[in-house]
Each structure stands twice: as C-alpha cells, then as structure tokens.
C-alpha cells in the first residue's frame, strides 16, 4: 500500500480505522435481523419463528457490542460518559445515544415477552442458568403464550423502524462529514440500509444453521427460502449502489477523483471481496445453492464477508485522500493494541459469548412456539 502519494498536509492521518469499520457492521446486523421479525410478526410466516428467535439473540448481542467499537476508538474513553451531560443536538453522536437507548429498551421489552415463557420452564430446572432464568421472569409464574405473542408482535414492529434509524444514522454521521470526499454523497445512507438487510439476514441464517447442526437439529432448506431470496435481492441492490457510487464520482470527475481512484486501488482487495461476495449471494440465492442448507450456510458466510468489506471501503479509502487535495495517505492499522485488529477480534468474541449466553439461559428453541418445522 502506498505510504504517501504526493504531498500530504502535515496533520493528515487516517483517523478512523478497523473499529469504525466494525461498528456499522454490528449495527447493520441489528437492523437486518428485524426484517425476519417483520416476516414472522407482520406477515405471519410462522415457520420462521425459530430463525427469528436466533436472529433476536444475534441482534441483541450486536446491539450490546456495537457501541463498544466507537467507545474503544475514543482517545479518552473514560470521558465517554460526558456525552449525555453536555448534549450537542447538532452532533451526530447525540443521535446515536438517542437511537441506541430507545432501541435497547424496545429490544429488552421484546426479549422479555418472547422469552419469559421459556424462563419459567427453565427456572424449574435449577442450576446456574435456571436461577438466572428464574430471576429474569421478574415474578411471572404463569403466562399465556398467545397474549405474550401479541406483545412481542407490538415491540417487534416498533423495533424495525428504530433499528433502521439506528443503522441509517451511521450513514448520516459519515455524510455529515462533507470535508471528506465520497462521505458527503447522498447514496451513503441507502448503502448503509441495504447492506444492513443483507448482513442481518446473513448473520441470523449463519447462526441458525450452524447452531442447529451443532445440536443435530434438522432444518428444511425450503422453510428458509424467503429470507434467502430477500438477502439475495438486497445483495444485488447493494452491488448496484456500490457501482453507482463509484460511477457517479468518476462521471462527475470531481476534483478528488484521481486521488480517490488511487485510494480505491490501494484497497482493491476489499473491493474485490465485496463485489465477488455480493455477486455470489445475489446469484446463489436464486440457484440450487439457495435451496440446500449447506449452500445457504455458504451464502450467509459470503454475505457477512461481503458486507464487512463494504463497510471497509466506505470508511477507509475516502479518509486516505488528503484535504490538501494532493496526496493519498495509507492507514496505519496495528495487529495488537489500541485501534488494532486485536480489539476487533475481542468484540467479535464478546458478541459470540452473548449469543451463547442468551441461548443457554432462554434455550436455543422455544418449546411454546406453535410452528411448522
């Protein structure tokens, strides 16, 4: 990768790196998995209830882990608590607090009504997880699953727009930085929303299929047809938006284009991963791959890889263009240490831990869901 092409301004540095790439990745998964909730609770696809439950665990875990990424990215993380005390309404970070808090409350309420029937049963089993489940019933002893389902439906419908506002805000945050080329583009918010659908469904499918295969529960691939097709369509749309974004920059031949092009060239691998993975998901979703559980697992892995690469190419190359308009500067990303890959790996492991914890306390599958399997 180039060190510096031309002369950069003396303070220029690629400030936001892997942690800020990872943050929209997590927030996108939160939003995308609510699409499955919508299919179950609004459109009545009850055969997806098990998938929706896993998707809910994934979303809740990502919601808990997502704010840690920008938090670790602060040079003064201990002062992060100051944000609600000196709120600047015109700062995009303020919106983050609002959306995250609201979404977290809604997701907790949805979790409670979705899982308390299982907590009650689980509490009777005793042990560590049994006691935890007993505590999480908050005193409920006997619940009517039909009544609870109505409440889950209500909170699921509220979580959908909130989750998309939460992830759309990341696009808004970047688009507020008009001084950085490409970020000022209006295409950024749709890119974030569409990518969210792909990665949210992809992550839910991945954990659902892998989790079930670990527990030797058989899954019928045809039950997953609808989410796979939605994922494929949105992968195609994402690809289209990516091309549109690049073509618009090139076509209007903005002053930054030559520099942006060389920054893109320096990140060619990420572009290739994004394009090939999304193309694979798009085409695979409509072929035989999308009709077998093994194929769907592959597609879900490709969707996650593709969207992570999409986040990378949205965050990194534009920052490489120097504000003096003469240079491209490479990012310095450490393997271990502050803002390094090790922090990102730690976040992914933490997310995985939360998913396993939720599944252990509430149970991988609900015994109360009346659904076709």
């Amino acid at each position: 990768m180039v060190e510096s092409l031309g002369v950069a301004l003396p303070n220029h540095k690629v400030e936001w790196t892997v942690l800020i790439v990872t943050y929209p990745f997590f927030s996108g998964i939160v939003a995308g998995s609510t699409v499955i909730s919508l299919l179950v609770y609004l459109l009545g696809y009850k055969n997806l209830a098990h998938l929706e439950r896993v998707g809910h665990f994934v979303a809740l875990s990502c919601l808990l882990v997502a704010p840690l990424a920008p938090f670790f990215d602060l040079t003064m993380p201990a002062r992060g608590f100051l944000v609600p005390f000196y709120p600047n309404l015109s700062s995009p970070i303020f919106l983050f607090f609002v959306f995250w808090t609201l979404l977290f409350i809604v997701m907790l309420l949805k979790s409670y009504f979705l899982l308390r029937r299982d907590f009650i049963g689980r509490a009777k089993e005793g042990g560590f997880f049994g006691s935890l489940a007993g505590f999480l019933t908050f005193g409920a002893r006997d619940v009517n699953p039909e009544e609870d389902d109505k409440k889950v439906r209500f909170w699921a419908l509220i979580s959908f727009p909130l989750a998309f506002a939460f992830t759309g805000y990341v696009g808004f945050l970047l688009s507020a930085m008009q001084a950085v080329p490409m970020w000022g583009s209006h295409i950024l918010i749709p890119v974030f929303l569409v990518s969210a659908v792909v990665s949210g469904i992809g992550a839910s499918l991945f954990f659902y299929l892998v989790g079930n295969s670990f527990q030797e529960i058989s899954v019928r691939a045809e039950d997953l047809r609808l989410p796979v097709v939605i994922m494929a369509v949105f992968a195609g749309l994402d690809l289209l938006l990516l091309f549109l974004e690049i073509i618009l920059e090139w076509y209007w031949n903005t002053a930054h284009w030559p520099l942006l092009a060389s920054a893109m060239g320096a990140n060619l691998l990420s572009y290739l991963i994004a394009i090939l993975a999304l193309l694979f998901v798009f085409l695979g979703g409509f072929t035989g791959l999308g009709r077998s559980t093994g194929g769907i697992t592959l597609l879900s892995i490709a969707s996650l890889l593709g969207i992570y690469a999409m986040r990378w190419i949205t965050v990194i190359p534009p920052q490489m263009v120097d504000k003096g308009g003469r240079a491209v500067v490479s990012p310095h990303i450490k393997l271990i240490g502050r803002e390094g890959f090790s922090e990102v790996i730690a976040l992914f492991l933490l997310g995985l831990f939360f998913i396993l914890l939720f599944a252990s306390v509430a149970g991988w599958r609900s015994t109360h869901h009346k659904e076709v399997t």
Binding site: A8, N11, E15, Y86, S91, I93, Q178, G324, A327
Partner: protein, 277 residues
C-alpha cells in the same frame, strides 16, 4: 395588633430597601460587566472581532512562524498548528503559447471559521466558538477524542495531541491576543506577511490592509466562512481558492483548462513538513 402592623411596615421598608440595593447592585454589576466585556470581547455579540491576514506576496517561506508557534504552544513532534505550503501555479495561454509560472509560499493555520463545521459536530461542546470574539477554541479537559471535528474541518488543521491525547489546533494564541499581544507567529514573521487585528477597533491598521487589497479565503464553497484572509492569491483564486460556485469541480486536478478563457493551468503544491511522523 399595632406591633404587628409596625413589624409589617418595617419588613416592607426592609424589603423595598433590599430591592433598591439589589437593583443598584445588579445594574452596577451589569455596567461593570459590560465595561469588562467591552475591554475583552467584541461589544457586538456574535460578530467576529479578531481577524488574521496573510499576505502571500511577502512570505519568503522561512518557517520562522512555524518555529515560533512550536515554541509558544509547546506543540509536540509530528503535529503542526501552522505550516507553510509551496504552491507552483502556472498557465499556458493557447493564443500566445506563453507560459507564466508563479511560486507562492502559503502559510496555513486554523481559520477560526464563522460557521465552523468542527463545532457543529462535537458531541460535548469540547470545541466551541466564543461568541464574544469569534475564536474557535478547545476545552481540553472535556474532549473525548472522537475526532469528529477533525473529519469535519475542511482545512486539515486539527490533530490529536500525542501527549494530551485530546484534540488540539491553532488557537490564534488566545492567551496572547486577549491580553493585547499579537500571536507568536505574527510577532515573529520577519516580513510582516502575517498580520492580526481587531475589526471592532476602527483605527486598527488591519482595516487599511483589508480595504486596500483584494482579499481571498480558502475553500469558500464549504460554507465554513473562514476568517484567515489571504492577500496575493488573486488571479489564482479561480483555480484553488474558488470562484464562489458550489460546483464540486472547484478544486482542479493538476492540469486544468478554463473553458471560458481557454487557458490551461497547471498546479502543484509542496509542503515542507509532511514526513515528521
């Protein structure tokens, strides 16, 4: 009963007296406050008083300002509040084939913008614009280090201070200018290419400088309303500084043809401090 009435009238008198004393004290305080404010800040609240003028015709690129700033602000290695760029600008007239080349030393520093995008995005008001004198300053003890302001600044003047680990930048030497001194870089400049003044003072020599010369600002199309005025960029402001149009093509590539005049421009920039990190 009588006692009660007397008590009441005493307390009423006391109340009126207290009210009068309070009113005088408040008005007096306000007067003193205004007087103090007038001495320290612009009486027109919200209007910039301080301005910075850079005459690039006079700058010889000696970097004395850079050294002075480093010393005055105790700026750590690898980061700069100010620097001097070398611009090489030329054009070829297709009619005559004549090529003209101009080399300029262009000092850069924080513009203390009137509409600063850096202030807009700061989540905790750690960067703020003093509405009294228009200085854009930092509350170091509050900055969380999110670098939103750095991303939002169109001029690349902000940096994370490697010692304090919070955001820092040129302050127009607020500790000096608010006490009647000039910024360190202005005081040090041997050719008076850097000037600093107070627009709220009609007798300030800065008025003459601004009135007698054509002044330009950098990147006007961003809407930040920068307050560092440049003298000597006329003629090339159409290339680099902008013509006021909001076209994205404002900043040209290295070779650029002005379709209106048919002139072919070439443009090159060099700075001297890009490799310290």
């Amino acid at each position: 009963m009588k006692e009660t009435l007397e008590e009441k009238s005493t307390s009423r008198r006391d109340f009126i007296r207290a009210l009068a004393v309070g009113a005088v004290a408040t008005c007096g305080g306000a007067v003193f406050e205004t007087a103090r404010a007038e001495r320290t800040y612009s009486p027109q609240k919200g209007k910039n008083r301080f301005v910075f003028v850079v005459d690039v015709r006079k700058c010889i690129g000696c970097d004395a300002c850079v050294a002075a700033c480093k010393a005055e602000r105790n700026t750590p290695l690898g980061v700069f509040n100010t620097w001097v760029e070398k611009w090489e600008v030329g054009y070829t007239d297709p009619a005559t084939g004549e090529t003209r080349v101009k080399v300029l030393n262009v000092p850069k520093l924080c513009n203390h913008c009137e509409n600063p995008p850096c202030v807009k995005v700061c989540p905790v008001y750690a960067t703020y614009r003093d509405e009294g004198d228009g200085l854009v300053l930092q509350r170091y003890e509050r900055c969380i280090g999110c670098r939103l302001c750095e991303q939002a600044c169109p001029y690349g003047v902000r940096y994370i201070d490697p010692i304090m680990m919070v955001m820092n930048k040129c302050t127009w030497c607020d500790h000096r200018v608010r006490n009647g001194l000039k910024p360190a870089c202005v005081d040090t400049c041997p050719t008076k290419a850097r000037e600093f003044g107070d627009l709220s003072n009609p007798n300030d020599p800065i008025w003459e400088l601004i009135n007698k010369n054509s002044v330009q600002v950098l990147k006007p199309e961003t809407g930040a309303k920068p307050r560092v005025f440049y003298i000597g960029l006329e003629g090339i402001e159409g290339i680099y500084v902008g013509t006021g149009s909001d076209r994205k093509t404002q900043h040209p590539p290295a070779v650029w043809t002005d379709t209106a005049t048919g002139r072919v421009y070439t443009f090159n920039v060099r700075t001297q401090h890009n490799k310290f990190r």
